[in-house]
Amino acid sequence: MTTHLGVMMLFAALVSAVFATLLYDDGRQQMRMGLRLFTGLVVGAYLVGWMMFLAFR
């Protein structure tokens, strides 16, 4: 779990859970928003990581 990807996914999961819980009261809406946030954070980190790799190599 202490790989870069593992820690980043753990961070994304916890942050997504807090934001989704704060934004919605309904469980289904919380789950949907949580998954969207989690996907956005992980995919976003991947994209930014690749962009930085390609820009500064």
């Binding site: 202490t2 942050v15 859970a17 807090v18 934004l23 009261d25 309904d26 809406q29």
Partner: protein, 140 residues
Amino acid sequence: MVPPANAPSRAPRASDGEARLGAPALLLLAWLVPGAAQVALGEVRKGVTLGLCIFVMFVLGLAFQGRIFPFQLSDPLVFLAAVAQWALGLPRLAAAVGGWGTGNVTAITYEYGSTFLITSGLLNALVVLDAYDRAAARTQ
């Protein structure tokens, strides 16, 4: 006006948590124990979820050998990190008393740990604002 179906729900519910505690006590409780104010307002599931996530984040930050930052005005970033970490009441206080979070710069997870600790404080600041928002909505 009818709110859109996917709008965040902020509808006040019948609860006397705010009336029993008062807004200042509720804010203090929200700051000290993450999610406790939501529980006091009758939103047990929400409060437990928020509290658990933030507490797990704080413990992981310590386990990853992150650093608990001091109030050091000579370094603005360290000062801001300390402010963010102090947004998490009791756990941060316990860390100060217990001498936890000295931070091991050579650990591979040091930066992650510090980020977890700072973020847990910032998330608790949002939780405190949410508790205030909900308490204010109930009094109107």
